[in-house]
Chain length 179, copies 2
DNA sequence: GTCTATACCGCGATAGAC
DNA sequence: GTCTATCGCGGTATAGAC
């Protein structure tokens, strides 16, 4: 198992942060390098081009998502409740990774969209095992809609603030859909 | 009431199509002009800069959304059912306009996000009048989630195909949430 | 392994002919 | 009203010093 240099992770962190805070278009190599505290040349030593940088970020997303799937399947309150609760921004590594990747999916990045589809499918399977296949997609889409509206509202900052009441509404809805 | 030139509308149509099919970053003035069958100079005669082009597109969105709100409030099957049904891509002018604007909201375009918030609020009000304030957001978010997943799946093409069954699931869920 | 310097290209926008 | 030509900027990527 090869140990990756710290500078590499710092660059990945910086890339995620910029995707989240300023969007895909402004997350340039220059900006990433500056934020990570390396030169552009130094960045391009670790990641030969921008696609390689993106690929590494998506790898990390898959890793974190895998851990979340494990937690979700073991959640005592049930997968559906766990899913709705964690649809709200909490600043976790997975949140950041997911949101950053979402910026790429939005601009039609093919591989980012493929990963998303895979993760969604795993979530759907667990929710279906919890609330039944009939209503699983309803639950999944509610969580996704919450996520989407928080995005439109203007970034992750506002998520924690005003959306807590929404979570309670959705949890009540989930209870009505169970069975 | 001033008549707008046809070339103007052709440019707006081309801009929307490109936003939808190739994303915000690739919807450049060059690409729009080529698709609309005019030169870049010709385009910039009608819209002095890119912001003006965006502003005109958002105007059209508001107009179409207003018409939809009117239809929704008069829908015999109820606002909630109408909303879920029309969350699926049908290729209508509103669908195209909404999806195109969504590409801008995704890259943090401030005005696009403001318009979205307004439209969402109007939808929410009508749904609340139909199913009650308690469950209105659950219904709204289900529709939004359906929309979001169709996006991730890779553009509007696939929407019509595989998601029809999802609509039926969501409509059944709405019935359970009514009251 | 990380830096500086630079090549190269495509974007938005302007100027002016027709 | 629509065109061609061109500028300036900022993006990705490369070359080569240290």
């Amino acid at each position: 198992m090869p140990r990756k240099p710290v500078a590499r992770d710092a660059v990945l962190d910086a890339f995620e942060e910029l995707l989240i805070s300023v969007g895909e278009r402004a997350a340039t190599l220059d900006a990433v390098a500056k934020r990570a505290g390396v030169s552009k040349g130094g960045l391009l030593y670790h990641f030969p081009n921008k696609e390689a940088l993106i690929a590494a970020m998506l790898e990390r997303l898959d890793l974190l998502a895998g851990e979340d799937i494990a937690l979700m399947s073991a959640a005592p309150e049930g997968a559906a409740t766990y899913f709705i609760r964690t649809s709200l921004w909490s600043g976790s590594p997975l949140d950041r990774s997911f949101l950053a990747a979402s910026r790429l999916a939005e601009v039609a990045h093919v591989e980012a969209r493929r990963r998303f589809a895979g993760i969604q499918q795993q979530w759907l399977d667990l929710i279906a095992a919890d609330v039944g296949t009939g209503m699983a997609k309803a639950v999944l889409y509610m969580g996704d809609g919450l996520y989407l509206n928080a995005m439109w509202e203007g970034g992750p900052a506002s998520k924690t603030d005003g959306r807590q009441g929404d979570v309670e509404v959705l949890l009540a809805a989930v209870e009505r859909l169970r069975g």
